[in-house]
């Protein structure tokens, strides 16, 4: 696991232990346990309603868990109000105090901690320097752009050197370019300052590029917690497989060594294809579109398919093909050096056995 912690490892560990939160009859968070190492950057990723924000708000102290424990730096915080947890937090919509100047916004956490005024100003200016807004202290929040406001919010969250930084979809209100710039900015701050980060997002690209580990949630349950690469290459269940990136999914018959599908195609799979033991019978074969390649039809070991659409997209092309039984298989191939393929053409699809993954069928959805 890649931990980008700098020399001074000053983050706090976070332990989420069997956390549950129910709203009426809705189980927003259902038995979630997650241990986050000091200085680690963890993204909580999931569709809306997956409970990712509720988990974050429980760590922050704004939600009182129905069951379970939250430990920050080894201390039980489950019943502690947010202001006693010494966390830094960045919200979705900046949440700068509109009646206070940028400098006073950033100095606010210091004021709450009884820091003297001159020292507050100095530290607030230093925090503004860190987010590259030095000299902006006298402006009012509404005089700044959205990106600048969110950087002020970031400065306010880190000004008193918290051990934990919580972020609730902090970049979702920004446009694409600003978002990418802020992603780099937050990564840099994390590397420099070494605090622990919990970052909620529904943007998988953001999660993959930023986090040491990604926790995937669905309907309040934790699906998988893995580093980006493992999550992409070996998703632990069908939901994780379909949620991250593109995935071809084919219903197959599995006999313990071979998967048969589309009436006459089969593939022999190594043991490593199954993340967990898959019983014989109905199963699902999953393979990433970019792991497939085109060969001549009838080549041994290739699947027969008919091209139905070719979408040219510069560096790569998307081929949408159909197998004999009509099931769709998508291929992402490099545009250059590729023999032109036309809709209606019969092709062979070559599948490296190590690229295919097998999941039990009943786990689907």
């Amino acid at each position: 696991m890649s931990q980008t912690v700098s020399s001074n490892n000053k983050g706090a560990s976070i332990e989420i232990d069997r956390l549950a939160k129910t709203f009426g009859s809705v189980r927003a968070v259902d038995d979630v346990s997650l241990t986050i190492e000091p200085g680690e950057f963890v993204a909580l990723l999931g569709p809306s309603g997956s409970g990712k924000s509720t988990v974050l708000m429980s760590v922050a102290g704004f939600e009182r868990p129905s069951a379970g424990r939250i430990m920050i730096g080894g201390k039980d915080c489950t019943r502690l109000p947010p202001n006693k947890r010494d966390i830094g937090m960045v919200f979705q919509h900046y949440t700068l105090f509109p009646h206070l100047s940028v400098g006073d916004n950033v100095a606010f956490p210091l004021k709450m901690r009884g820091v003297a005024k001159a020292e507050r100003r100095r530290q607030a200016e230093a925090a503004l320097e860190i987010v590259r807004l030095g000299g902006y202290g006298d402006r009012m929040p509404k005089q700044l752009s959205g990106g600048q406001q969110q950087r002020v919010a970031l400065a306010r969250a880190i000004v008193y050197n918290p051990q934990v930084l919580l972020m609730d979809e902090p970049l979702s209100a920004l446009d694409k370019n600003l978002r990418e710039e802020m992603q780099i900015e937050i990564k840099r701050l994390h590397a420099e300052l070494g605090f622990t980060v919990v970052f909620v997002t529904h943007d998988q690209g953001e999660a993959l590029t930023m986090a040491d580990r990604i926790a995937i949630l669905k309907a309040g349950r934790l699906q998988q917690v893995s580093p980006a690469r493992e999550l992409y290459e070996r998703p632990s269940n069908l939901f994780a497989a379909s949620f991250i990136g593109e995935m071809n999914m084919l219903p197959v018959q599995w006999d313990g060594a071979n998967a048969t599908f589309s009436e006459r195609e089969h593939i022999r799979l190594p043991d490593s294809a199954s993340i967990e033991t898959v019983p014989s019978g109905r199963a699902v074969l999953a393979v990433r579109p970019e792991r497939l390649s085109v060969t001549s039809p009838g080549e041994t070991g290739s699947w027969r398919a008919t091209v139905s659409d070719v979408v040219y997209a510069g560096a790569g092309s998307l081929l949408i093909t159909h197998l004999h039984d009509g099931s769709e298989v998508r291929l992402r191939v490099a545009s250059a050096g590729q023999a032109p393929v036309r809709p209606g053409q019969a092709i062979g699809i070559k599948v490296p056995p190590e690229a295919a993954l097998l999941y039990p069928a009943d786990a689907a959805r």
Binding site: N83, M112, M140
Partner: protein
Amino acid sequence: MNPRSLLLNAYVYAVLAFILLPIFIILPMAFSETTYLTFPPQGVTLRWFEEFFGDSRWMAATWFSAKIAALTAITTAVVGTMATYALVRGARTMGTIFQAFLIGPIVVPHIALAVALYLFFQNTGLSGTVFGYVAAHSIIAMPFTVFTVAAALSSVDPALEDAAMSCGANRFNAFRLITLPIILPNVISGGLFAFIISFDEPVIAFFLAGIRDKTLPRMMFDDIEQNLTPIIPAIAVLLTVLSIVVLLAAALLKYLADRNSTAREET
């Protein structure tokens, strides 16, 4: 200008005239030299104003009204803000019920309220007391304060207080240091409205008046019955001017608040 919009303009001015005419009629009457109310007034004198300010009974009633109005303003500003906070931020189901109770006095005829309070206050000895007046006036002024504060509060992002708490502020300080300063101009405006409503409130004053202390509107009623001198229009003019000044103050406050939020530094 085409005939249609000409007609519309004429209509608008007619409505305005209808609303404002009584004020313009009362104005010259306050300066009349006659000792009885008459229209058109004759001559110009400040005698009635002098008489009002020189008469200890009128002054006592004025101060009594001012005291009640000031206390009503403070009561509604504080209680109204707390109530509005609960309505806007609090639980929905109970909120609707409480809202009905708070807004209710707008629809309930003041005379009904006055009779009910009269009976209740008679039995509890609150009739004619400052506390009784302030309680009664706060009830009828509360809806206006609640509306004014709610308008400001509903435009304040609740997440601001969460942000303040994540910065280390406790719940009360999050409200005191963040939400309250933002809505303060509206809280003060709400208080000023309450002041005006209380200061020239006639119906409840009529029922609750004690033998000793009378509010200004009640004194005016008594005076009309006995004398009917131009001192009544003189006081009416003064009350109108007071209302205008207070409303202008509220507007100025709003303007200053808007301007300050673009350029203000912590002191």
